[in-house]
């Protein structure tokens, strides 16, 4: 096996001179008059675990199927390791796919399923089955080699599908909702298992998922897709902390959005006049014109609630606790401001508070200037 070239700690996407391993250039796919993927360009680097995240029908699966060779792009180019994939059929591509339904051949044993790809390469049976045994050990299924797929549990099937897709040591592994069919607990365990295997083999992964927690846990980088376009590409932290648009801010986690107008430019802190909160102080944003329409995004966990008005602080608003939901490790509040606007606030229950803030209490909500993200889109 090739020695793993892991990019886990290096971040080639920060280096403008780094050569991408997979280049997707202006890819468009139209079905009749529906545009499933619209002019997407994306660079992915060797050893990455890249997640395409989006709701159903956003085009993420179509993009994946174009990489695998099941769909032909209407326009654009795909390069894998410098090689143009145009005209290369699915069976000749250096990619393998793990299907959402797993697509295990029902009439073959686990062993035969996993060996299938190697035998198509023209490997001898002896060599193929030796490799199959190794691979089954890696996914901890040695004793299930002779079983048929319908005799396995969901988690075992998922691992067979993974082993089958990995055995040809593809340059690129495509995973379509790899954990979608598993229950919640198994899914959490499998996430780390998937990362372990990916790091052991050093294969580049592209994962399609609709589950943001899954994307956050797995990915080196996430591409958020919507209506056939990629809205933002970034590391999980970047996507969450510095969304580039209202769509991404709202799609990942929950957020309070306020519309406002930018105040005059300032060196350290600038002001935004909002209709709901009045003036709000935020860190300065470049290339913002005074009077420009902006939106402020404030995550609920960045706001804290106080019973008494804090002295000498900016960004304080007053309201009444309209509703709360106790969730064990945290409590979610809905606070109605005096002008009628409702904001969400979550407070982590770090202490056993004998007297927590409760319904109908008058409270003050405060946040740091840096907690608010100014969005122009």
């Amino acid at each position: 096996m090739t020695s793993p070239t892991i990019a886990a700690n290096t971040r080639p996407w920060l280096d403008p001179a780094a050569k991408p391993f997979i280049s997707i250039r202006h890819i468009t796919k139209r079905f009749d008059d529906v545009t499933a993927v619209n002019d997407v360009s994306l660079d992915i680097f060797r050893g990455e675990l890249f997640c395409l995240l989006g709701g159903s029908g956003c085009g993420k699966s179509t993009l994946l199927r174009m990489l695998a060779g099941f769909e032909v792009p209407t326009a654009g180019q795909i390069l894998i390791d410098g090689q143009d994939m145009a005209g290369v059929p699915a069976d000749k591509r250096p990619t393998n796919m793990m299907f959402q339904s797993y697509a295990l051949f029902p009439h073959m044993t686990v062993e035969k399923n996993v060996a299938y790809g190697l035998l198509r390469e023209g490997k001898s049976k002896a060599e193929a089955y030796q490799r199959v045994a190794e691979m089954l050990r890696l996914v901890k299924l040695e004793q299930y080699a002779k079983r048929k797929p319908h005799q396995l549990s969901g988690g075992q099937r998922q691992r067979v599908a993974l082993a089958r897709a990995l055995i040809k040591q593809p340059k690129l592994l495509l995973l379509d909702e790899p954990l979608g069919a598993l229950d919640k607990k198994l899914r959490e365990e499998t996430q780390f298992e998937l990362i372990r295997i990916q790091e052991t083999l050093g294969v580049t992964f592209i994962v399609v998922t609709h589950d943001q927690d899954e994307a956050m846990t797995l990915a080196t980088r996430i591409g958020v897709m919507d209506e056939g376009v990629i809205r933002q590409v970034g590391e999980p932290r970047e996507i969450y902390e510095a969304p580039n648009s209202r769509y991404v801010a709202d799609f990942i986690g929950s957020v309070n959005l306020f519309e406002g107008k930018a105040g005059p430019a300032a060196p350290d802190l600038m002001r935004v006049e909002t209709g709901d909160l009045g003036p709000v102080v935020v860190p300065p944003v470049e290339a913002l014109v005074q009077g420009q329409n902006v939106w402020l995004a404030v995550r609920p966990e960045r706001i804290s609630l106080e019973r008494h008005r804090p002295e000498g602080r900016a960004n304080v608003v007053e309201g009444v606790v309209e509703d709360l939901a106790y969730g064990g490790h945290l409590t979610a509040y809905r606070v109605r401001l005096d002008n009628g606007r409702v904001i969400s606030v979550t407070q982590s229950n770090r202490l056993r508070d004998e007297d927590p803030i409760s319904w109908d209490e008058r409270v003050f909500a405060i946040w740091q200037p840096g907690a608010a993200r100014v969005l122009t889109k």
Binding site: D91, K92, E121
Partner: protein, 353 residues
């Protein structure tokens, strides 16, 4: 990848040679086979040889094999299903002549060597003028409608009963409905002769029970034809009905009852409308073949049971008037096209996606 393809190709090349040789040998009568079997063998082996050779050729020219896969069924159905109708239409326009084959050619050389196309609508005019044919069409439609209604009345309760039965019993009953279909159709019609004859099973039982003194005349009547059609086509009515009724959610019936509907009202306002696709499909599956039915009226019907399938058969086999038989068939085709289209529309609506 190429390693896997090579032995496959060698196999195919030898298959071309082998099958081609077999076809030629069978065609030339070298093999010790009956002429008929030799002909079929030559056809099958030759066809496969051509197929494999075409794959080779296509590969040689770097063509995609897709067209080949499409071409095989397409050509078969074109030649043996669609073109026959063209021939049928063409012969329906010719005249009967005493020759082999007994119809006039489509064109003839005139005295000066010019081509004369011979085509006339005389046969169709004849069909319209002779009341026998018009009556036969009308009577076929009548028989088909009556039989369909009876089949629906008999089939609906059975289908409903099966659909409402608990699982192990449901499969068994369904199997029992399909089972007669696997035995010979002709023999099942024949069985009714023994039942309906004047000294048949029904008359014997009724006379023994003292219900009647004289045997009822049931054979060679329209009644016998209705029975025969309902009997043979009942599974075709029950299966589509069952398919829609089994999908009916129990909760709908409970909801109707909960909202104050009596069982009868529930049936009329919920069950019946929801089973409409099954009713239409089942009715068409009985009605369409019943129109052209030949065997049942020939065996169970009387001399005055006029049905168009029988008229066509007699025209062809007894009168040897191929052109008139063809025009009868063309008109029959037009009569059944409308219900066929309707059936198609219902089935397309049933299977969306």
């Amino acid at each position: 990848m190429s390693a896997g393809a090579v032995p496959w190709r060698g196999l195919r090349r030898s298959a071309v040679v082998l099958l081609g040789g077999l076809a030629v040998a069978a065609g030339l009568g070298v093999l010790p086979l009956a002429a008929d079997s030799a002909g079929s063998l030559a056809l099958v082996a030759g066809g496969l040889a051509i197929l494999f050779a075409a794959i080779e050729l296509g590969d040689g020219f770097g063509l995609s094999r897709r067209w080949l896969v499409i071409a095989v069924p397409m050509l078969w159905f074109l030649v043996f299903f669609l073109i026959p109708f063209v021939v049928l239409g063409r012969i329906s326009l010719s005249e009967v002549v005493i020759a082999r084959p007994p119809y006039s050619p489509l064109w003839e050389r005139g005295p000066n060597g010019e081509l004369e196309i011979i085509a006339s609508l005389d046969n169709y005019r004849f069909l319209l003028d002779d009341p026998l044919y018009v009556n036969a069409y009308l009577s076929s439609i009548k028989v088909a409608i009556v039989s369909t209604v009876f089949a629906l009345l008999v089939g609906y309760p059975i289908a409903y009963y099966i659909a409402r039965s608990p699982e192990p019993r449901r499969s068994v009953l369904l199997l029992l409905v399909i089972l007669p279909f696997w035995t010979s159709f002709l023999l099942r019609v024949y069985a009714w002769i023994g039942f309906l004859r004047s000294n048949g099973v029904i008359n014997n039982i009724l006379m023994w029970a003292g219900v009647i003194d004289e045997p009822l005349v049931m054979m060679q009547t329209d009644f016998a034809v209705y029975i025969g059609i309902v009997y043979t086509y009942l599974p075709f009515m029950i299966l589509p009905l069952y398919a829609t009724l089994v999908k009916l959610d129990d909760a709908l019936l409970e909801a109707a009852a909960d909202l104050g509907a009596t069982p009868t009202v529930t049936f009329l306002t919920v069950t019946l409308p929801l089973s409409m696709p099954g009713i239409i499909a089942g009715s068409m599956l009985v009605f369409i073949p019943a129109i052209g039915e030949y065997v049942i009226p020939a065996l169970l019907g009387g001399p005055d049971t006029l049905m168009i399938g029988r008229v066509l058969w007699d025209e062809f086999f007894s009168s040897r008037d191929w052109p008139v038989a063809s025009s009868v068939a063309i008109v029959m085709l037009i009569v059944v096209v409308i219900p066929i289209m309707w059936l198609q529309a219902v089935q397309n609506r049933e299977a969306p996606e």
